[in-house]
Structures are given as structure tokens and as C-alpha cells.
């Protein structure tokens, strides 16, 4: 690793930290701009009770002071405060709870997308313009232009309602199969297209011709030379794929009633559970920012020819 790469990594790190700070700040002030406090929707409480509750949660202090307290609590202790609606539970506990399911779904979906996407993409590139290539391209084009909630509901209709093969509810183990498939289809289609085009690019390179001229076997060319090099652009999709899976999980978990962090987020917005909204936004945002960072740095290290600003 040369100094230039190091400089790049440092620069990206600073940007990532700034972004996370921006997310915390924006989330905090946006949530506090909501008209009507969190206790407005509840049964009528007297002025003194409301005051007491606000004092308990520190909502009576000046806004900027609240912000500073929040920021230091989050950064130093990862403490997002207590949930306003789920009594006696900390935001961090709720997030950690939901994260178990969501992370499992997300990681499995990502692995499926990666493995199948690379295989299909390579097959399409190696059988360029044959029927199998055409079929793969048509299907992936359709998948790429279908929003995740439509994919999810269609799968739900077909496999859970019509064929009755899998449970529609994501609370059980089997019920997680459909959400995983839903989440993996879009990134899979994307990776397929990415692998295909970069594989085609690599196959046209001089070193492939040289290898062929030397009499290297076809399998060795594909696996030893072409595949390795054509996977580099796929690394760049690392961050965006995770971002897709995180945001996709918001609706997918809603559709299949999966008890994950995505559902907690959506429910906390409708329930005006401020600390929970802020907590989940920040955790998910940090996740996305970090994964983007890792993806970019990996890309830079794997292929040093690439110059990034």
C-alpha cells in the first residue's frame, strides 16, 4: 500500500465520520421539528403529568442542550435512550433484538445474490448471444425494474396464498424463506448484469488471447484468468447492495411480518417513537456508510490501477 492509497483511505474515513455526524444531527433536529410532542396522541393527561413526563425524558431542556447530551450519549455509550412507546425497553435492546433476524436475512440474501449472480453472469458472458444468454438477460432486466414491494407481494401471492407452499408470516424459520428470496432477487439480477459485462470486457483482453495461444485449457482461462478479473467491478456493488438490502428490508419485513429492525423502524415512525426512530436511522445509516467505505477501500486495494479522486 503506498502513501496515495493511505491518503485516500484517511480522506474517506473523515468523510464517513462527517456523514455519520450529519445523519445524527439531521435526524435529531428533524425529529424535533414534528408538531405535537410524543405524548400528544396519548389519552388526555393533565398539564402537570405531561410536564413530569417531559422532565423524565429530558424534553424540557433547551433543544441545543438536548442535542449535545444525545450526541455524547450516542457516541460514547451507544446509548439511544429509552423507547417512548415500549415501556421499560431501551432503544438499543430493541435494535439488537431486531438486528438478529434482519442481519441473518440480509446476509443470506447477499450471499445468494452474489453466488447465483456471478454464476449466471459468467454463463451469460461465455454463451454470449445464445439462447441462454438472452433468457438470462430478459429475466434480469425484468427483475431490475421491479420494486421490491411488488416482488415481495407477488411471491407472497403465488407461493403462500395460491400454492400454499410456504408460510406467509415471517415469524417462523420457514417463513423467512420468501423474504430472503425477495431481497436477493434484485441484487442477484444486478450482479448478473455486472458480471456479464465485465466478463465480456475481460474476455476481449490481450492476455486472454495470449493464454489461449499458449494452449492453456479453457477451464483454466475461465477460472484462473477471466473470472478473477471480472469480479473487480462486483466489489464496487458491495456497498449499494447492502444499502438496497437495508432499505428493501423495510418493506419486505412489513409484507411478511418479519420481526426485524426494518419493521421496528416503520412502526416507530407511525407510532412517533422518537428515540426509536433516531436510533434505528443512525444504526442503519452507520451500517450503510461503513459498508460503502469498506467496498471502496477494498476496490482500491484489489485494483491499484484505479485512480480515485
Amino acid at each position: 500500500m503506498n502513501t496515495k492509497t493511505l491518503m485516500y483511505i484517511v480522506k474517506r474515513l473523515i468523510l464517513a465520520i462527517l456523514t455519520i455526524w450529519l445523519v445524527i444531527t439531521v435526524t435529531f433536529f428533524v425529529m424535533h421539528a414534528v408538531p405535537g410532542g410524543p405524548f400528544v396522541g396519548e389519552k388526555a393527561v393533565t398539564e402537570s403529568v405531561r410536564k413530569a413526563m417531559e422532565a423524565k425524558y429530558g424534553l424540557d431542556k433547551p433543544l441545543f442542550e438536548q442535542y449535545l447530551t444525545y450526541l455524547s450519549e450516542v457516541v460514547t455509550k451507544l446509548d439511544f435512550g429509552p423507547s417512548l412507546k415500549q415501556r421499560g425497553r431501551n432503544v438499543l435492546d430493541i435494535i439488537a433484538d431486531g438486528m438478529k433476524t434482519s442481519a441473518m436475512i440480509g446476509i443470506i440474501a447477499a450471499i445468494i445474490a452474489l453466488v447465483i449472480g456471478v454464476i449466471l453472469g459468467s454463463v451469460a458472458a461465455l454463451r454470449r448471444n445464445r439462447i441462454i444468454d438472452r433468457v438470462i438477460m430478459v429475466i434480469t432486466t425484468a427483475f431490475v425494474s421491479m420494486p421490491s414491494f411488488i416482488m415481495g407481494t407477488l411471491l407472497l401471492t403465488v407461493f403462500a396464498v395460491r400454492l400454499n407452499l410456504l408460510p406467509a408470516n415471517g415469524a417462523s424459520k420457514n417463513g423467512l424463506i420468501l423474504p430472503i428470496i425477495t431481497l436477493s432477487l434484485y441484487p442477484m439480477a444486478y450482479i448478473t448484469r455486472l458480471t456479464r459485462s465485465s466478463m465480456l470486457d475481460v474476455l476481449g483482453q490481450d492476455y486472454i488471447r495470449t493464454a489461449r495461444a499458449k494452449g492453456v485449457s479453457r477451464a483454466k482461462i475461465i477460472f484462473g484468468h477471466a473470472l478473477k478479473n471480472s469480479l473487480i467491478p462486483v466489489i464496487t456493488y458491495f456497498g449499494p447492495m447492502l444499502a438496497y438490502i437495508v432499505t428493501g428490508s423495510l418493506v419486505v419485513e412489513q409484507i411478511f411480518a418479519v420481526p426485524g429492525i426494518g419493521r421496528a423502524f416503520v412502526n416507530s415512525i407511525t407510532g412517533r417513537d422518537y428515540p426509536l426512530v433516531m436510533g434505528t436511522t443512525i444504526v442503519l445509516a452507520v451500517l450503510i456508510v461503513v459498508m460503502n467505505l469498506v467496498g471502496d477501500i477494498l476496490y482500491k486495494i484489489v485494483d491499484p490501477r484505479i485512480t480515485l479522486e
Partner: protein, 352 residues
């Protein structure tokens, strides 16, 4: 004349001046073509792009004109007649079925426009709701892209042309917004703006459009302009080093003149292409938000909210989900394919 194959002997006949007739033969008249005409020609050759263009055209025209003459409206509950009890026979009709009062009118010889997609749980004609939803989704996509274009173009061209510290500061801000997880921020902002705007808009003209759509536009204006700004800045940076800019400056042209007369027209193709590709992404976002209940205000339909409403009756009426789903996918797909075609036809860098 005796001539050997490799001799340097010159055939003098080749140097006789050409007659006028011969000259005319050499001149091949080709009508002069502009960059735009050239691009259109290339675009027409691209079958996928042409088909997508017509799909978009048909969908757009029917979304605009069908509601004008269709006998039902998107919020008309057919079972509800003023002064009469609700006629339940109009609720949840399957395609091409009629309500009780309509059946008796048909028997009396009247012609009644069929409910092509049936009616929904509140007795509203589903076909017109889909058409109207398409109209809303398309309009949101279009206007959101325009907003993104205007902000991105202004910031990008100023940043690229000014350079130096201005550029540095603007680009750092752009970098930060760019690395924000957009969907999370969109959901957060949309849910909060919805509440904030609801009160602020009451009684104004804007309240008709609905707080949700306006908050959607605000979100787009806040977050999505950054990639457009980056793109245009990059274009301007490379264009402003060109000789013709130098010539214009030497002739005494100011910054405004150079930006509007030289730089922006030259990155026109990039602008058009990325705006065309922005529309499907805006439609995508709108349907996503509508699905989460953060989109258009009821009873106004959008394709996303129709799909989301259909979830409740999924077991009995799956087509109510399938229809808007197909329409969204069709719009997004054909806009994307058309945008790709535009890029292939108009991006001069790809010509080589």
C-alpha cells in the same frame, strides 16, 4: 502505352483536368446534418428504444386523456347515491360485473361502460383508479426530475465554472449528501414533513396537491440533486478549458454569457439523458413511499398506494395487486430502456 507493374512511370492521362461532368460525379450531395438530427437517426435504429418510447407515449397519453371522458371518477363510490342507503352490490365487483342498479338499467336497454378491472372495496371503479394512479405517478416522476435538474444544473455549473474555494466547499457538501443513505433520509423527511406541512398548507392552493406529494418534492430537492450537480460540474470542468471558451473570453464575454451560451448547450446531451433516467427512479421512490403509507393522500391513488391497498384483499382479489404492479414495472422498464437508448444515441463519447 507499355507499363511495367512496379515501374515508377507516371500515366499522364491521370493528370488531365477533369471535365465539368466528371466533377459533378465526384460531388456527393448529402444534406447537412446537425448533432441533434444525427442522434435522432441513431435513436430510430435502436428498436428497443423505439418500442419503449411508444409504450411510454401510449401510457402517458392514456393517463392524461382517459380520465377526461371516462364516465366514472377515481373517488366516486358507485354504491353511494345521495339520499339512499349504500348499495352493497357495487363493492368488490370482479372485472366486467355490474352492480344491481346497473343491471336493471342494462335490462332497460341502456348502455353502461363496463368496470374493466371491477371495483374496489369501497365501490370505486378500479380501472379509472389505475389510470389516475398512473397519471399521479408519472407527474410526480416528471416534476421531481425537473426539480432535480434545475438545482443540479445551477449548483453544478456554478461550482464547475467558479472553481477554487467555491468549488471545493460545494463539492464537499455534495460529497456528504451523496454518502447519506438516501432511502432512510427520504422516509424520515417524508414522514416528518408530512406532519409539518399538513398544518402549514391548510387553506392554500397547495393543499389540493396534498402535503405528502409536496414533501416528496422537497425531499427530492434536498437530496437527489447531488449526482446531477456532480455530473454537470465534471462536464463544465472539461469544457471550460476548450479553445472556444478562451476565444469567447478574449472577446470580452462574461461568466453568465459563457455558461449559458457555450457551456450548458455543450453538455445538453448529458443533461437530457440523466434527466430521462431520473424519472423512473423518482417513480420508484414515490411508489415505495406510497407503499409505506407516506405517499399521496387518500382518496387520491398512486400506483404504489394501489398496490399497498391491494395487500388487504390479496387472497380474494390478487389482480388488484398485479395490475398496478405491471404498470409500474412497465413504466420503469421502458423509461430505463429509452434512457439507455438516448445515451447510446446522444453521448458523443461512445461514438468512437
Amino acid at each position: 502505352m507499355d507499363k511495367k507493374a512496379f515501374s515508377a512511370h507516371v500515366d499522364m492521362e491521370d493528370f488531365i483536368p477533369a471535365t465539368d461532368k466528371e466533377k459533378e460525379y465526384m460531388v456527393s450531395m448529402r444534406p447537412s446534418t446537425t448533432f441533434f438530427k444525427d442522434g435522432i437517426k441513431r435513436l430510430k435504429k435502436n428498436k428497443v428504444a423505439v418500442v419503449s418510447f411508444f409504450v411510454i407515449l401510449i401510457i402517458t397519453l392514456s393517463a392524461i386523456f382517459v380520465p377526461m371522458f371516462w364516465p366514472y371518477s377515481y373517488d366516486q363510490m358507485l354504491g353511494m347515491m345521495p339520499g339512499q342507503p349504500v348499495d352493497n352490490s357495487f363493492l368488490n365487483l370482479t372485472p366486467f360485473k355490474y352492480g344491481k342498479s346497473e343491471l336493471s338499467r342494462i335490462e332497460a336497454g341502456e348502455h353502461i361502460v363496463p368496470h374493466i378491472f371491477g371495483t374496489d372495496s369501497q365501490g370505486r371503479d378500479y380501472f379509472i383508479r389505475v389510470v389516475y394512479g398512473t397519471r399521479i405517478s408519472l407527474a410526480v416522476g416528471f416534476f421531481a426530475s425537473i426539480i432535480v435538474l434545475i438545482i443540479g444544473l445551477t449548483v453544478g455549473s456554478v461550482s464547475g465554472y467558479a472553481g477554487g474555494k467555491t468549488d471545493l466547499i460545494i463539492m464537499r457538501i455534495v460529497d456528504m449528501i451523496y454518502s447519506l443513505p438516501d432511502m432512510l433520509m427520504v422516509i424520515l423527511l417524508a414522514s416528518v414533513l408530512k406532519l409539518v406541512l399538513e398544518n402549514a398548507l391548510e387553506g392554500t392552493v397547495l393543499s389540493k396537491i396534498g402535503s405528502n406529494i409536496i414533501s416528496l418534492f422537497v425531499v427530492f430537492g434536498l437530496l437527489y440533486w447531488v449526482s446531477m450537480a456532480r455530473l454537470i460540474r465534471g462536464q463544465i470542468l472539461s469544457l471550460k478549458e476548450q479553445e472556444y471558451v478562451l476565444a469567447a473570453r478574449a472577446a470580452g464575454a462574461g461568466g453568465k454569457w459563457v455558461i449559458f451560451k457555450h457551456l450548458i448547450p455543450n453538455c445538453f446531451s448529458v443533461i437530457i439523458i440523466s434527466t430521462a433516467l431520473q424519472i423512473p427512479s423518482a417513480i420508484f421512490t414515490e411508489s415505495y413511499l406510497s407503499f409505506l403509507g407516506l405517499g399521496v393522500n387518500a382518496p387520491m391513488p398512486s400506483l404504489g398506494s394501489l398496490a399497498s391497498d391491494a395487500l388487504n384483499g390479496l387472497t380474494s382479489y390478487p389482480y388488484r395487486l398485479v395490475i398496478p404492479a405491471i404498470v409500474i414495472s412497465l413504466i420503469v422498464l421502458s423509461l430505463n430502456l429509452f434512457g439507455d437508448g438516448l445515451r447510446d444515441a446522444f453521448d458523443p463519447k461512445l461514438n468512437s
